[in-house]
């Protein structure tokens, strides 16, 4: 048990008396009350738990708290103030979500991809997006939404 401090959505947060082995996911959901990041598989296969650490997408279900000290974490709640990040707007415009459970993961993965590669190729988009499952099958709509966001 130890104390860990990191930056969460632009604010410094401290977790006291925390098990360092605990994945970031449970700290976010249970200790910090941010439930937008979801639990899907616990083995980094489905990607619904994706958040940004230092701007890169990571699977928070296997990312131990011990590795987060001093780092910058962004969750779906911190992506924009008013649900108006370009990816969020494209998702609403394209009526992407069905049940919505995986969509935080889809949106965070897309946001990281397009920030790092605004003109990502189809192959690069596929490589990034294949990391997040959608059981409802919103892939065709995700594809259309991303196509509108990619800088040509």
């Amino acid at each position: 048990m130890a104390s860990v401090t990191f930056d969460l959505n632009g604010k410094s947060v401290q977790l006291d008396n925390v098990d360092l082995e605990m994945p970031l996911l449970w700290a976010l959901r249970e200790d910090l009350g941010l439930t937008g990041t979801k639990f899907g598989c616990g083995i980094a296969q489905c990607g619904v738990c994706t958040v940004h650490v230092e701007g890169n997408p990571v699977r928070s279900c296997v990312y131990p708290i011990s590795a987060i000290a001093g780092k910058k974490v962004t969750t779906i709640e911190g992506l924009s103030e008013n649900n108006d990040h370009p990816v969020q707007k494209a998702w609403i415009e394209g009526q992407v979500p069905q049940c919505g459970y995986c969509q935080s993961g889809q949106i965070m993965t897309t946001a990281a991809l397009l920030k790092n590669k605004p003109n990502a190729s189809d192959k690069e988009i596929e490589n990034a997006m294949r990391s997040v499952y959608c059981r409802c099958g919103t892939y065709p709509r995700i594809k259309k939404a991303i196509a509108k966001l990619v800088k040509k």
């Binding site: 048990m1 098990d19 605990m22 994945p23 449970w26 959901r29 249970e30 941010l34 439930t35 937008g36 990041t37 979801k38 639990f39 899907g40 598989c41 616990g42 083995i43 296969q45 489905c46 619904v48 969750t75 779906i76 709640e77 992506l79 924009s80 649900n83 969020q88 998702w91 609403i92 009526q95 992407v96 979500p97 069905q98 049940c99 919505g100 459970y101 995986c102 969509q103 935080s104 949106i107 596929e126 490589n127 997006m129 294949r130 997040v132 499952y133 959608c134 059981r135 409802c136 099958g137 919103t138 892939y139 065709p140 709509r141 995700i142 594809k143």
Partner: protein, 704 residues
């Protein structure tokens, strides 16, 4: 849900289910029950709230049901507030979301309620203006007078309208005049799902709750012999290590709940848990054995589930019989939100929070299990992170209640992915055996379809007679003079349940593959062959012709590509699908799936398209993947061995809707039944290789 109770402060229209199963529209504004029993609420400020009484799992009823009310009420759906109703069968009738039934079963009731409210408001305005109601009409949350500038907002009419009696038979709008129904309107729940705001069962938290993870026997009916309680209690944060039970289709299932301060601590405690199970010999069961038995049963006569003409005689007489046997595996539902439930048991009172397709089933379960009157059972249901049938069961709620009662505190039980994958109930595995006879003209003169499978509604007990449930999805609309569907019932301790499209997810693979086999044997184009047997059926003919046109069926295929066709009916909807496959390197992939559907009137055509896209993707996963049983337990415990279809594997999906004003059919499963046969029929067209067993093995898709 808290509503103001001041009489006359709003107009509330509801619908009371009567004892004979009918529903009567009522003005509930002055009824003491109105806060619980209403679908429409209009405040004096003009704010319209529409209530949606069926849970949302992605299928879109959250908005499509209120859209029906809004249509008749003449309000702008974008400006109304949509609220979820509480669980209460007495007030709302069925609230279960299964079988794509919500919209189709309540289309008329909802229209009637919307129309009744509109008429009351018109009467109130006419009285105020001292003119005939015939001179008035409603539009855009206002009552107006024809040929005049006179208008008054609904809010200003509420006081007067709340005292009027709702008409029993209000005039419904002509579908030609619809402004809301049939429009691809943005869904109100979608913005909540792009910023993490939507609340699922997993996100619920209640004061003073503990977290639990439960170790359950991987061999289904295993009984606990012993477990290392004391050691697990030493894990930091672990508070209780206790037995927990639930029932699945009458069979008691045991587990050990590790209850802790946090979910992580519960998981750690569970890792330290060692259990000795008495598996009663069920750890000998494996998939090979199950299928071997099913295949042997192909020779059994079976129970006749459907029959026209004289199939047996024709099969006996004919020499030219085509036979084929198809197989599909068990499947798990895999909603991405794992099973979960929060239950708090108090003195003569119980409260539930969670994601369920069956709010009243949860209420019944808790009432029965805890012997608490149902009015003291509070069911708080959330958005679901997928359901697909699994959440129509209440076993996860029973288990949570069992734990909550024992620890005398609220508890949140969250299943792991492995728990979801391995515990079932599953989609049934099956063997389907077909025999067909072709006449001299290449027409099908006789067809026998035998289904060898477990039946959801008859899983325990000694009754071995197959029921008609087993023939779900076997198309009886083809014009075949001698046609029989037979069932050979199988029983197993491995539990099954409703899975998206149910038997329509299995039987059409066999049926539509075999129709294809017959077409090739007859030397006919597979689509023409189907059209030939559907001349009498305008809906199937329409969707077949439409899909042929849209997917360019008759164009010469480019090198390395081929197309396959399949059709089916589900929940009153008719659809035909064409899958185009392409050989890339030595692999064959689906590249485009085109579906033409006739579902009657579509409340929100964009939602209908989304549902079809989703059903296609789920059908593709089920084609590539399945569960196997080894030593009595499920082998594929998580996504590393049971991968779902990924983004880059998803073909282009196009859906075309036939315009119709017929009553709506169910939209939630459209397209799923036809995916596998359309694909395997296309693979046959490309390679000449007939795939009769799912999941498709990698070798099936190597060209050449």
């Amino acid at each position: 849900m808290q509503l103001s109770a001041v009489s006359g402060s709003f107009l509330a229209i509801g619908c009371i289910p009567t004892s004979d199963g009918k529903e009567v529209v009522r003005n509930l504004s002055n009824n003491s029950d109105y806060t619980l029993n209403q679908f429409i609420k209009i405040g004096t400020d003009g704010l319209v709230t529409l209530f949606t009484h069926r849970p949302e799992m992605g299928q879109g009823t959250f908005q499509s049901m209120p859209m029906i009310l809004a249509e008749e009420l003449e309000v702008d759906i974008d400006k109304v507030k949509i609220e979820q109703s509480p669980a209460n069968r007495e007030l709302f009738g069925s609230q279960m979301v299964v079988g794509s039934r919500s919209v189709q079963s309540e289309y008329h009731t909802l229209r009637k309620m919307g129309a009744a409210a509109r008429e009351i408001l018109i009467v109130a305005a006419a009285k105020q203006w001292n003119i005939s109601k015939k001179e008035c009409f409603a539009e855009n949350t206002m009552v107006k007078q024809y040929n005049s500038d006179k208008k008054i907002g609904y809010g200003a009419l509420v006081k007067a309208a709340s005292k009027l009696t709702a008409p029993e038979n209000p005039t419904l709008k002509n579908p030609q005049d619809f402004k809301v129904i049939g429009k691809p309107i943005y869904r109100q729940d979608i913005p909540l799902k792009t910023n993490g705001e939507a609340i699922f069962g997993l996100d619920m938290k209640v004061e003073g709750m503990f977290h639990a993870s439960v170790e359950r026997s991987p061999v289904f009916l295993g009984k606990i012999i012993s477990f290392n309680k004391e050691e697990v209690l030493k894990v930091p944060g672990v508070k209780y290590v206790i037995k927990a039970k639930r029932h699945v289709w009458g069979n008691e299932r045991e587990g050990i709940a590790v209850v802790a301060d946090t979910y992580w601590a519960a998981l750690k405690g569970r890792k330290a848990l060692k259990v000795e199970w008495d598996n009663k010999g069920l750890d000998e069961v494996n998939s090979e054995g199950i299928f071997e038995k099913y295949r042997t049963n192909v020779t059994k006569a079976g129970d006749v589930l459907y029959q026209v003409g004289k199939v047996d005689e024709l099969l006996e007489e004919s020499e030219n019989i085509l036979e084929a046997v198809y197989e599909v595996p068990y499947q798990s539902h895999v909603p991405l939100e794992p099973m979960n439930a929060i239950v708090h048991v108090e003195e003569n009172r119980v409260t539930y929070w969670g994601a369920t397709q069956n709010p009243n089933g949860v209420r019944d379960q808790l009432s029965r299990q805890l012997d608490i009157a149902s009015e003291n059972v509070e069911v708080n249901y959330t958005f679901m992170g997928g359901g697909f049938g699994r959440r129509s069961m209440t076993d996860m709620v029973e288990e949570a209640a069992d734990i909550a009662k024992k620890i005398k505190a609220p508890v949140k039980v969250v299943w792991t992915r492995e728990d979801d994958q391995t515990q079932g109930p599953f989609r049934a595995c099956q063997v389907n055996a077909l025999r067909g006879v072709l006449g001299d003209e290449g027409d099908v003169t006789a067809l026998e379809h035998k289904v060898i499978a477990q039946q959801i509604t008859n899983q325990t007990g000694k009754n071995m007679k197959a029921g008609r449930q087993l023939m779900g999805g076997v198309n009886t609309d083809y014009k075949i003079p001698n046609f029989a569907i037979k069932g050979v019932l199988q029983k197993s301790h491995i539990p099954i349940t409703y899975w998206r499209a149910v038997y329509h997810s299995t039987n059409p693979f066999a049926h539509e593959s075999f129709i294809d086999e017959l077409a090739y044997k007859a030397g006919k184009d597979p689509l023409e062959f189907r059209l030939g047997m559907m001349q009498h059926h305008s809906k199937f003919t329409t969707v077949l012709n439409l899909v042929a046109e849209k997917a360019r069926w008759y164009d010469k295929p480019t090198t390395g590509t081929a197309k396959g066709v399949a059709l089916a009916e589900r929940s009153g909807g008719y659809f035909a699908m064409i899958c185009e496959v392409k050989q890339e390197g030595d692999k064959i992939k689906p590249v485009k799936i085109t579906t033409a559907i006739d579902l009657g009137i579509c409340i929100n055509p964009d939602t209908v398209k989304a549902q079809t896209e989703g059903a296609v993707v789920m059908g593709l996963t089920a084609m590539y993947n399945g569960l196997t049983i080894k030593k009595g337990a499920v082998v594929e415990q998580n996504f590393d061995t049971y991968p779902l279809l990924r983004y880059d594997e998803c073909p282009e999906i196009e859906t075309f809707i036939v315009k119709s004003t017929d009553d709506p059919a169910g939209a939630g499963e459209t397209g799923l039944p036809t995916v596998a046969p359309a694909f395997t029929n296309a693979v046959f067209a490309l390679t000449g290789k007939r795939i009769r067993k799912l999941p498709i093995s990698k070798n099936d898709l190597v060209a050449g």
